[in-house]
């Protein structure tokens, strides 16, 4: 995993996803929402990358942009997404359909709404299979049943409808759909946020398990640092549509460089420390229709200087593979 600031870096052998300068903009009621603003990252085979950030930071938009399933009326995306040496952004729609669900698949944020309420659960799984493999209907059904069992749901529930399933089971169905064709890349968008802790544990376990068995790479989107810790290798912290810090989980968690990352840890009630007061980050995400110049975090940053408000802040490699977009990072790291 590595990140750079616009300079082209030849993708390494094992890098099979290379996202460069990805931007996503929405138009809504006449104003332009800058949801994703030039994101660059790479992902190696078998690795798991976590995208962490607050609500509205642009995490889901990134995943949807990669899969090119943004609403085509209101959203525009730019940049390159090199997947297995082809640029997905330039691909024909027909070609792209062959990638979706087959090579890259996605688990959606809300299991309650991600399933079609009028289609049998099993059909929703087997249709991915038949879409990408030329097999008979019976075989597809059999495959679908197998997938159901793999995620821990008895095969006889194949013919039921989503409303007959609990939230946890629905999320498992969504996972089964995503994994049905053994994708090379899994985009998991907050797969457990809507679930209870015990169920969340089950689901995370399941994903981890399957990922290992199938050697799938994964981008896990979440705002829960605990989940990141338990499932990921690398972390990218998203703030206002930019990766402000990225690196291995260990580096980022142990030695966060960016004041925002720092703040996130401070705001978290810690299970292990008995601090009386939390140290929240003041303020709110900036208005995505009207991002400030310079560092987007500047208005909330306790370390802000005038320089922070000018130009683009370059990413600095603090440690090997640990990048951070902050001009005062060195001072801050020393201070800690």
């Amino acid at each position: 995993m590595s990140a750079d600031n616009g300079k082209t870096v030849k993708s390494e052998e094992s890098t099979f996803l290379d996202v460069r300068d990805l931007t996503v903009q929405y138009t809504s009621m006449g104003s332009v929402i800058h949801a994703v603003n030039g994101i660059t990252f790479q992902l190696k085979k078998g690795e798991t990358l976590a995208l962490v950030g607050e609500t509205g930071a642009g995490k889901t938009s990134i995943a949807k942009a990669i899969l090119r399933i943004l609403p085509d009326v209101s959203a525009k995306s730019k940049g390159t997404v090199i997947f297995n040496n082809t640029d997905l952004m330039q691909m024909k729609e027909k070609e792209m359909q062959k990638i979706r669900g087959h090579k890259i698949s996605m688990i959606f944020q809300d299991p309650m709404t991600a399933l079609n309420p009028t289609m049998r659960v099993g059909k929703q799984i087997s249709e991915v299979i038949s879409a990408h493999r030329s097999i008979s209907t019976e075989e597809a059904v059999a495959e679908g049943k197998k997938m159901l069992e793999m995620v821990g749901i008895p095969a006889e529930r194949y013919y039921e409808f989503p409303h007959q399933f609990s939230g946890g089971m629905k999320q498992r169905v969504v996972i089964a759909i995503a994994l049905a064709c053994n994708p090379e890349l899994l985009l998991a968008d907050e797969p457990t946020t809507a679930l209870d802790v015990t169920i969340q544990a089950q689901v995370l376990e399941l994903i981890n398990d399957l990922k290992e068995r199938l050697n799938t790479s994964m981008i896990l989107i979440t705002h829960d640092l605990g989940v990141v810790n338990e499932t990921c290798d690398n972390v990218a912290v998203i703030y206002a549509g930019r990766i402000i810090e990225s690196g291995s989980k260990y580096d980022v968690f142990k030695h966060p460089g960016h004041p925002y990352t720092n703040g996130l840890f401070g705001a978290l009630p810690n299970m292990n420390l008995d601090s009386d007061r939390l140290s929240p980050i003041a303020g709110l995400l900036p208005d995505p229709t009207n991002l400030p110049d310079g560092c987007a975090f500047a208005p909330r940053c306790p370390y802000v200087t005038d320089k922070c408000r000018q130009g683009t802040i370059p990413a600095v490699e603090v440690e090997p593979g640990h990048f951070c977009e902050c001009i005062r990072m060195d001072e801050i790291r020393k201070e800690r």
Partner: protein, 323 residues
């Protein structure tokens, strides 16, 4: 399911009974005396009294209500017209097919043209065709049916002499009424279908379907459409009510001797048995249609289907939330 239908049919009984009582009461307390109307201007008071007695109008309200209900619901007989002494049931059976032909064909067109067109415009949201379609539909729902009908008559019958302007006969007599009657319905249906489809297309599960790599056709027709059908179906019943109501007016314009003309004339001439029976008949019909719509709804929505089979109580809740 069968049990559910039976239950719904049973629930219809008190409603229809209440409709009958309501309409009977309205007719009873409306000013205007059928006896004196029938006998005409030179009838004496004595003659009117005799006629009233013959029609049973001299009996107290409750007695008449009782015999009306008994006749209608126990003997299943709609009685005889005060004016022509003909059997209302027979007359209605002769006239109803004409009304049904208008409302029914209009409904069919509404459905088979309106829904696909609505879906087409939704799928092509924002395109030129869509915009034109939306505009035409606004105009379409805004046209007074009877005016449109008269313009048709003016153009197709009076000027071009292509179609008969009114009356009854072969298929050609139904062309203009049905077209005039369907245009509003089609426009309305396009709007409903479009709105519903647009809402569904934005739903998460449609994005899910796309992310599976399904072709756009599959996404639209297998995922979006069935869900978009739900609100569409639920307005179908209302549409039919509109079509039935509109048929009353259209019958007037084209002088088609259907139930509508029968009913309006009966109300005007205080032909109570005819007026009451037509209303009760139309209400029964209408309730059955609503039931049919609900069943279609269930056929499409597994959630509702499940509630159907479970029992009525939950079903209601679901329905109200939908309203």
């Amino acid at each position: 399911m069968g049990k559910y239908i039976v239950k719904r049919l049973l629930m219809m009984i008190p409603v229809i009974l209440a409709v009958a009582i309501l309409i009977f009461t309205i007719m009873t307390f409306v000013p205007g005396n059928p006896a004196s109307l029938i006998l005409g201007a030179d009838a004496t008071e004595e003659q009117i009294r005799i006629k009233e007695h013959e029609l049973g109008l001299d009996q107290p309200y409750l007695v008449r209500l009782g015999s009306f209900l008994k006749q209608t619901f126990v003997e299943l007989d709609f009685g005889r017209s005060y004016w022509t002494n003909t059997s209302v049931t027979e007359e209605m059976m002769e006239r109803f097919p004409r009304t049904l032909a208008i409302a029914g064909f209009a409904m069919v067109f509404t459905t088979i043209i309106g829904i696909p067109l609505g879906i087409f415009t939704a799928v092509h949201e924002g395109t030129f065709a869509d915009r034109i379609g939306v505009l035409l539909c606004v105009v379409g729902v805004s046209m007074p049916t009877f005016w449109l009908a008269m313009l048709f008559v003016l153009l197709l019958s009076l000027k071009l002499k292509l179609l008969p302007a009114q009356g009854m006969g072969g298929v050609q007599y139904y062309v203009m009424p049905v077209i005039a009657q369907s245009l509003g319905g089609i426009s309305g249906m396009v709007r409903t279908a479009r709105a519903s489809m647009l809402e569904v297309v934005r739903a998460d599960y449609v994005t899910t379907a796309r992310s599976k790599g399904l072709s756009e056709r599959k996404v639209i027709y297998e995922h979006a459409l069935p869900n978009a059908m739900l609100p569409i179906i639920s307005v179908l019943g209302g549409q039919l009510a509109n079509q039935l109501g509109g048929a009353l007016v259209i019958e007037q314009v084209f002088s088609i001797p259907g139930i509508g003309l029968y009913l309006i004339n009966a109300v005007n001439t205080r032909d109570y048995p005819v007026a009451q029976s037509s209303v009760v008949f139309l209400s029964i019909l209408f309730s059955l249609i609503v039931l049919a719509t609900d069943l279609c709804y269930a056929a499409v929505d597994p959630m509702i289907r499940a509630q159907f089979t479970q029992g009525g109580k939950k079903k209601k809740k679901g329905k109200e939330e939908n309203a």
